[in-house]
Symmetry: C2
Subunit: 237 residues, 2 copies
C-alpha cells in the first residue's frame, strides 16, 4: 500500500529536523509492508532497490558464509533504518534481513533517497549521525568479540539488560539459539557460559534470569572503564 | 603547521566532487602533523575536537576493555578518514588510534566540519559513502569473527593478500602479534593456525608465506559465496 494523506514521516523522531520538502518527497514514494515472523526482507548479496525503515517489530541481520550456518550479525528493534550503507554505495547488501517479531516496514526507493540527499544537507547530516551510531555499535561488538570470553560476553549482555530494565530479575528477550549466535557462540557454548555464571550468582529458570550479586557479575563482565589507560601510552601532543 | 597556500585537499580523491568553498573552508582550519611509530593520535574515551585524515602511513585502532590487554579492532592505511562517527555525534571516540608506520595526518577542527556539513549536501553525501564503506568493512569483520574458526580467518586473510598482490608468495605486511589481534586471536593461537594451514600447503619462513595450492586454501577459507542461499528462506515478495 502507498502512504496516502501523508504526515506519517513527520511524526517519526528518526526524521526530526528534516525539511518538509524532503519528508514529503520521501513519503510520496514510500510503501508500507507488513511481514510475518521468518520472512526475508532483503537478502545478502542482492542490490537494494529501496531503503527499509523498520517501524514495528524486530529483525535479525544474518551473515552467511558459504556452506556454514548463517550467523546473527545483529538483532535490530524498531524504529531503525536498515542497510543504509549499501543504498548509498549501490553495493550488494552485506546481510540478510529476516523478521524475528512481526514487522512493519516502509520501503523508500533508492532513487528518491539519492535525489533528496543531493539537495538537502540536513537530511544527509541526519543520516550521517544515524549511520555513525550504527558504526559505533559495530565497533563495540568487534571489541566485545575480540577482548571478552564467551562467558564474559554473556555476563556483559545480562548486565546491560538488567541496567536497561532497572531489575535484577530479567527475561531473555529472544530465544537462546538467537542470542547465542548474536553473542558469537554455538548453543552449546551458550549453555556452558550460563553454567559458568552460576559462580557469579546467576540462576536461570527457562528464559528468566536471576542475578544474585549484580556488582560481582559486573566486575566479571569487565565493562569498558576509565582505568584502561594504564595499558596505553600517552596521547601525542 | 597550518596548511598554507591551499589546494592540497583538492588533489585528494577522498574529497573529489566537493564544492570549492567547502574544501577551502576545511583546509583553512586544518593542521598537518607527523607522528612517529607508537604515537597515540586519539585516545579511546576522549571527546574529539578534530577529525583526523590519515594522509601517509598506517595506524591501528585499539579497543580497550578494563584490565584486559587492548585488542586491534582494525588496521588502517592512508588515505582514510578516521573516527568520523564520533566527530558527528560528539560522542567519546570508541578506539585509541596508535601509529604503526610513521604517519602524516591533517586534523580538521570539529566546528569546521559541522559548519560545512550543515550547508553542503555534496560534502555530507561524500562522507556518508565513506562512513558507509567503513560500516560494511565492520559488518564483514563481525561475520568473519562469528562464522569462521581462527585458522579459517587466517586462511581468508592470506587468500585476500595473495589476490591483492597477484602472487602465491606473500610477505605479511605487519608483525604477527598485530595480525593475530586484528584477526581476533592470541599470538599462540596464531601460531597454531599457521601450523594447521600446513595441511593446506601453506609454508612460512619468517614473515614470508608460500601458498602451495591456492584453490585448496581458498576452499578451506570458505569465502562468502553464491551458494549460501540454500540455507535461507525465499525473499518475501
Amino acid at each position: 500500500m502507498t502512504v496516502d494523506g501523508g504526515g506519517y514521516f513527520k511524526q517519526l523522531p528518526l526524521f526530526a529536523g528534516i525539511a518538509e520538502e524532503s519528508i514529503s518527497r520521501l513519503e510520496s514514494h514510500a510503501e508500507f509492508h507488513t511481514f510475518p515472523r521468518g520472512a526475508v526482507i532483503q537478502r545478502q548479496g542482492s542490490i537494494p532497490t529501496a531503503l527499509p525503515v523498520l517501524l514495528e517489530g524486530s529483525v535479525q541481520l544474518l551473515g552467511c558464509v558459504r556452506t556454514q550456518r548463517p550467523v546473527v550479525v545483529d538483532i535490530v528493534r524498531a524504529v531503525e533504518i536498515l542497510h543504509l550503507a549499501p543504498v548509498l554505495s549501490t553495493a550488494p547488501v552485506p546481510t540478510t534481513i529476516q523478521v524475528v517479531d512481526p514487522a512493519t516496514t516502509v520501503m523508500i526507493p533508492r532513487a528518491a533517497v539519492h535525489k533528496c540527499l543531493s539537495s538537502d544537507a540536513h537530511l544527509a547530516y541526519r543520516l550521517l549521525t544515524i549511520l555513525g551510531s550504527q558504526y559505533e555499535g559495530l565497533v563495540s561488538q568487534v571489541k566485545n568479540l575480540k577482548a571478552r570470553t564467551a562467558s564474559q560476553r554473556l555476563a556483559a549482555y545480562l548486565v546491560e539488560l538488567a541496567e536497561d530494565r532497572g531489575a535484577r530479575v530479567v527475561r531473555l528477550p529472544f530465544d537462546k539459539r538467537l542470542l547465542a549466535s548474536r553473542l558469537g557462540m554455538t548453543p552449546e557454548s551458550f549453555s556452558r557460559a550460563l553454567s559458568t555464571l552460576r559462580t557469579y550468582e546467576v540462576e536461570t529458570r527457562s528464559s528468566e534470569v536471576h542475578i544474585g550479586d549484580f556488582e560481582k557479575l559486573r566486575q566479571y563482565a569487565l565493562p569498558d572503564g576509565e582505568d584502561w589507560e594504564e595499558d596505553t601510552p600517552e596521547e601525542y601532543s
